[in-house]
């Protein structure tokens, strides 16, 4: 292949390196105003009274919007499809405030500074209600007044397969607790809205993962014709799932329509952590039954998910775990139960992997405990139970195709020198007093699209222009991980041109085709396949137009380097610019094609990760000594970006395992500071080795499968397993911070004394 499989910089790298590229927060529209919000300072209660008089008098203030003068139409921030079955319980500004960070009011002013200063002048009178900061507290009934339906939602049970007789089986019971983590996209939340009163046209600019979802949501809230709403995806400074629910778009739209001027709303870091959304705290209780030789038979898993203050995606998120139960291991029976519980905390929402990393923490912790009970090597236990090629995902009945998870385990075991390392670690721990080392392995599977559970399809259009290059339109939302370049490369490969000869559109509801949004790791697989189909149709159209114009037979014509030749007529030579010209002048048509694709496959895609850590028993600090990530990727379209993404995912997941969690104080006030939310930096980051198994064989574009979420899937579980190996512990709660480790060691030494 001339293009796919060779590394290319991301399409807008030069704009990013020079600082010239504009993100939404850099945009300045003519007459643009700025907005800043007032947030609830209490975790639960009612806003009795607001006094905005001083704020309105502040120089530069144009207007103040709040819970008493703004539409109280309820919506769900997770709405991504028309008539999606969701519970609506959030307003733009809320009178019944349900967490510290709930939106109460917003000041619109000539400058951001004026807006922020004026916010401080708004006086609020609350009536305080009892509050619950954990699901345990909420389940006591303490906050059943939080919504008319109470605090518990989405009770869900699902059984798959047939339960195996538990006689002679070994039962392994574990819990797994995951804390609230934030995406910490370097770009904070931002939205710019513009409104033209004369024709009622609203335009939204935001970094988001689904322009059509936002159009649908805003149309519902404001009772607007979809034609009056245009949503344009801006350059995205990272998402990781943090920009697929609509936090600022409804607020900014309401503001622009109120003042009939463009309005920009930029959350700072603290506001983004506290008032956007975070990954839910999750509590799993799991029972697994194994045969004596380590064959997994039954899985019984119960999840209580902390939804935070509003539902968002929480019911769906909790249920989705069930859809991840048969992507990694093969076993006859699974019973799954989940519920989402409202608490007076930060709203929960999507995170990279959409429950695959969370399910993997639960599953892999159980596998590690099982390996101990069964006295088996953790890699051996996994090899015994992982899926094989063409096995069926029992949850959805779809084949996992040419799935190389077993190969990834074996390759990783060999290249990481698992057995040699085990011996080394044992010796190291025997001779070291202060430091303890440990090894972890984790296997985690994921998906490539929504098939078969939900609707999935895509449309791509291409038109030939006078330069003989291709304008390719699709509803892409590049998060910053290079999907535009991946599509350029796929299109170029299929068209036989260079990537720079293809221009790719990104999400714009007025211009690009209807699409579901860029999530569920569907972009490469679904949009990539659609792009190939469209490219093939474009080549056929060029041939067809040339045949019609020249009178030659289509089957005699062929294309090489953007020139049409004839096998029978050596004089025939039409560049693609010539084709554009005669199509326009003689055939009287645009060389234009539009192709659909509906995925009917969703092969297995996985990462198997190996970690070695060193725990300092004096400080509780954990260092990642070495790390190997092996991925069955089918085919890496843009390899270096795939590697970079995987390495980034390892740092992100290691953070979830060791350091990252959003602190909430007992009065319900969370910390929005990065001083309290430690991200692994370049000084601590390990060298992460990445290996791709590229054996294709499935219907993805050039055999490619997903990478962006699956590379995050095994990480936290691998690091958690390694720490538990080092400490000979079964710590079931992440992050395993230095405090947790010191407490564990303290208790262990106290027990030893007894």
């Amino acid at each position: 292949m001339r293009c796919v499989g060779k590394s290319h910089p991301i399409h807008d790298a030069v704009g990013k390196a020079t600082g010239r590229l504009r993100y939404a927060g850099d945009m300045e529209l003519q007459g643009m105003l700025h907005m800043a919000l007032l947030f609830s300072t209490i975790p639960h209660g009612i806003v009795k009274k607001l006094d905005c008089s001083k704020a309105l008098e502040y120089p530069g203030v144009v207007d103040v919007m709040h819970c008493f003068n703004t539409t109280t139409k309820k919506y769900n921030r997770y709405l991504t499809q028309f008539r999606q079955d969701l519970i609506y319980n959030e307003c733009i500004f809320n009178t019944h405030v349900r967490f510290v960070g709930d939106r109460i009011a917003g000041v619109i002013a000539e400058t951001e500074e004026a807006a922020r200063e004026a916010v401080k002048l708004i006086e609020v009178e609350y009536e305080e209600y009892p509050y619950a900061l954990t699901t345990e507290e909420a389940l006591t009934g303490k906050i059943d007044n939080v919504f008319p339906e109470g605090a518990v939602f989405g009770d869900y049970t699902h059984d798959v397969g047939e339960k195996q007789d538990t006689k002679d089986l070994i039962k392994v019971r574990t819990n797994a607790n995951l804390s609230r983590i934030n995406h910490i996209c370097m770009e904070t939340h931002v939205c710019v809205a513009d409104y033209r009163k004369e024709d009622g046209q609203l335009t939204i600019y935001s970094p988001n993962q689904a322009v059509f979802g936002i159009r649908t949501l805003l149309g519902g809230i404001f009772d607007m014709d979809a034609n009056k709403i245009r949503v344009i995806k801006t350059t995205m400074g990272g998402s990781f799932g943090g920009k697929q629910e609509w936090v600022l778009e409804p607020v900014t739209a309401a503001a622009a329509m109120r003042v009939n001027r463009p309005v920009r709303l930029v959350y700072n870091r603290s506001e983004t952590i506290i008032s956007a959304y975070s990954r839910a705290p999750m509590h799993f209780e799991t029972e697994m039954d194994f045969t004596k030789d380590g064959q997994l038979q039954n899985v019984d898993c119960d999840l209580t998910l902390d939804a935070g203050a509003y539902l968002g995606n929480s019911i769906n998120y909790a249920r989705t775990v069930a859809h991840k139960m048969f992507r990694t291991y093969k076993y006859p029976y699974c019973h799954y139960h989940s519920k989402a519980v409202i608490t007076n905390t930060i709203v929960s929402g999507a995170f990279r992997g959409w429950t695959s990393p969370e399910a993997t923490v639960m599953f892999e912790h159980s596998m590690n405990v099982a390996a101990r009970r069964l006295n088996m090597d953790p890699v051996e236990l996994r090899l015994k139970n992982v899926m094989h090629e063409n096995d069926i995902d029992l949850m959805c009945g779809v084949s996992l195709g040419n799935y190389k998870i077993r190969q990834a385990l074996e390759q990783g075991r060999d290249h990481f020198e698992w057995n040699r390392r085990k011996e080394e670690v044992r010796k190291f721990n025997e001779t070291n007093k202060r430091y303890l080392r440990g090894l972890g392995v984790s296997a985690g599977g994921h998906v490539n699209n929504f098939y078969p559970g939900k609707t999935d399809f895509a449309r791509v259009t291409m038109s030939l222009n006078e330069s003989g290059t291709i304008l390719c339109n699709m509803t892409l939302h590049d998060h910053g991980c290079g999907t535009v370049m991946a599509m350029k490369m796929i299109a170029a490969e299929a068209l036989g041109v260079m990537p720079e000869q293809v221009k790719i559109g990104e999400g714009d509801t007025d211009v690009t085709p209807l699409d579901l949004g860029c999530f569920s790791s569907r972009t490469t697989y679904v949009l990539g396949n659609t792009t190939i189909r469209c490219a093939e149709a474009m080549l056929a159209s060029i041939i067809e137009c040339t045949a019609r114009y020249s009178g030659e037979k289509e089957e005699d014509l062929y294309i090489e380097d953007r020139v049409v030749y004839s096998r029978t007529n050596p004089d025939l030579h039409y560049t693609w610019s010539d084709v554009f010209d005669f199509s326009m002048q003689s055939l009287k048509q645009e060389v234009f094609v539009s192709e659909d694709y509906i995925p009917e496959s969703n092969p297995g895609v996985c990462g198997v990760h190996f970690a070695e850590v060193e725990v300092d028993t004096y400080t509780g600090m954990t260092r990642i000594v070495d790390y190997l990530a092996v991925h069955d990727i089918g085919k890496a379209i843009n390899p270096e970006i795939c590697r970079a993404q995987t390495q980034g995912a390892v740092i992100m997941g290691s953070g979830a395992a060791l350091t990252e969690h959003v602190l909430t104080r007992s009065n319900g006030k969370p910390s929005g500071s990065l001083k309290d939310y430690h991200l692994i930096n370049s000084w601590e980051a390990p060298n992460v080795k990445v290996e791709f198994i590229e054996e294709g064989g499935d219907p993805g574009p050039y055999g490619a499968k997903s990478i962006g979420e699956v590379c995050h899937t095994p990480v936290a579980a691998a690091v958690m397993g390694a720490v538990n190996d080092a400490l000979d512990s079964e710590i079931d709660t992440i992050p395993i911070t230095p405090d947790v480790i010191m407490e564990y060691l303290h208790q262990k030494s106290e027990e030893a004394k007894r």
Binding site: S7, I10, G237, G480
Partner: protein, 152 residues
């Protein structure tokens, strides 16, 4: 206050509030949006600029501290309309994904190489420890810095 300082090699005389953050002066008053705000508390490094040869957080620097000093921002790195070597290496080495940390990362690299033209990997890691990248594992960034030094 009236303020005289050097910005990207050119003398500037401006009128500004003394307590304004340098970051806001650049982005709002001068419309130079290459410098980004990631946290506003000196934790993430997205707003890094160079003042008198040192990498500093422009979110923690006030306008009143600028009198007579020399500021370099990302907009000052291009040479004759072409990217400087560090910028080129970041592009070539796939050291850029979402790009929001990139300008700060490049400014920290520039400051490092001004002081230490041949840093070791550990020195690079130390110099960039105040710049958070959420997309990558720093591997490509470190490689870009190494090449920027080697190919000087």
């Amino acid at each position: 206050m009236k303020l005289t300082f050097k910005l990207n090699g050119k003398k500037r005389v401006i009128e500004a509030e003394p307590q304004k953050r340098l970051l806001d002066l650049l982005r709002e008053d001068l419309h130079m949006t290459g410098t980004k705000e990631g946290c506003g508390e000196g934790e993430c490094g997205a707003c890094t600029v160079i003042i008198d040869g040192e990498a500093v957080h422009s979110c923690l620097t006030l306008v009143c501290q600028l009198e007579g000093r020399e500021v370099i921002t990302i907009e000052g790195l291009e040479e004759n309309g072409e990217m400087c070597r560090i910028q080129r290496m970041f592009v070539e080495e796939t050291a850029i994904q979402c790009g929001y940390c990139t300008t700060g990362m490049i400014m920290s690299t520039k400051a490092l190489l001004m002081h230490n033209p041949h840093p070791t990997e550990q020195e690079i890691r130390n110099a960039l420890a105040g710049n958070i990248c959420r997309c990558s594992g720093y591997t490509q960034i470190i490689k870009a810095v190494k090449r920027s030094a080697e190919e000087a």
